[in-house]
Symmetry: C2
């Protein structure tokens, strides 16, 4: 997605060889026009799939999932990272390992909000090692629902998570795929 | 807002006399059509204000802020609860006390995303004792920006936070104001 790649080059910043900061438009300040263009692009890629629900994980997937859902005209469900009084007791659980925080944690969705006849699209802001999507996939499987695929705004292709998910049969669509952040240079996968 | 009150009565559930669960449409599963109607209602209430930025706090304010921002055609900034590698070092801070968790915590916004000439509208899902809005207000003041007001989807009017903020001069607009949750009965403030 050309517009997104241009935005990443113009406003993204690299921290070392692995971190790309895009908090100018994607996960601290939100550029709503860009999110709309992103939502439209996801719709284009999954338009034949009769999606019934969009699934994401808190925190930074929520805005892009909500705006994207307008293009599909379906509800969003976001998996929660913390147990709280307000979460139903009966939940589907997914297991996620955070490489940055070096710990395992659980994400949860109330059993009321994913049903066996749901056709689910996962939406997230970043895909690095694929842990969040793996955890969300586990939740969809526990619900007996059908996982249509995953749409991510930015794939850090060089971290390999996307291709591991594709090898397992998941349709993973990234709107920008980054092959390297070395020396402050952002390089994109061609022919996306 | 009649549509919202009807939704609360139909799909909300009370837990004791203080908690209203609306995770069916507002903070776990998201009803995107309803969020759009909510965004439109906020626009109507603040249309004369030349808003330049919408400010909210993670997690549950993000979806409603993002959808609302489409109606104002301005960016969203969401304050973060956790320090992370990806957050800028230079931040404005607000202090929040969580009555449910019985602890103080900080919320932060990068100094890049709030400027002195910003006219800020705070958007959040719930207003109970007003702590989150108080913390966000502190952030707006630290930035030297102008706080136009706060729009909340549901005010738990009986907890008094909204009126304490109004007494301090803030224009607080709630789309549904609840005066009591006693005995499982949801009662709304009239003439809203």
């Amino acid at each position: 997605m050309k517009l997104l790649e241009e935005k990443i080059v113009k406003e993204g910043r690299t921290l070392g060889d692995h971190i790309l900061k895009v908090d100018h438009f994607l996960n601290h300040q939100l550029d709503i026009d860009l999110l709309n263009a992103i939502g439209k692009a996801f719709k284009e890629r999954f338009k034949e799939e009769r999606i019934t629900k969009i699934l994401t994980a808190e925190v930074s997937g929520i805005a892009v999932a909500a705006i994207t859902a307008q293009h599909f005209k379906v509800p969003v469900v976001f998996a929660k990272k913390t147990e709280s009084l307000n979460l139903d007791k009966e939940t589907f659980e997914g297991h996620v390992y955070s490489y940055t925080k070096e710990k395992h944690y659980k994400i949860r969705v109330s059993k009321n909000y994913l049903l066996p006849d749901d056709r689910v699209l996962i939406i997230d802001d970043f895909l690095a090692k694929g842990e969040a999507i793996k955890g969300l996939w586990e939740i969809v499987e526990s619900a007996g629902a059908y996982l249509v695929g995953a749409g991510v705004v930015i794939e850090k292709y060089f971290q390999g998570g996307g291709n591991r998910l594709r090898e397992k049969g998941l349709n993973v669509q990234a709107l920008a795929s980054i092959t390297s952040l070395k020396n402050g240079q952002i390089t994109f996968l061609e022919n996306q």
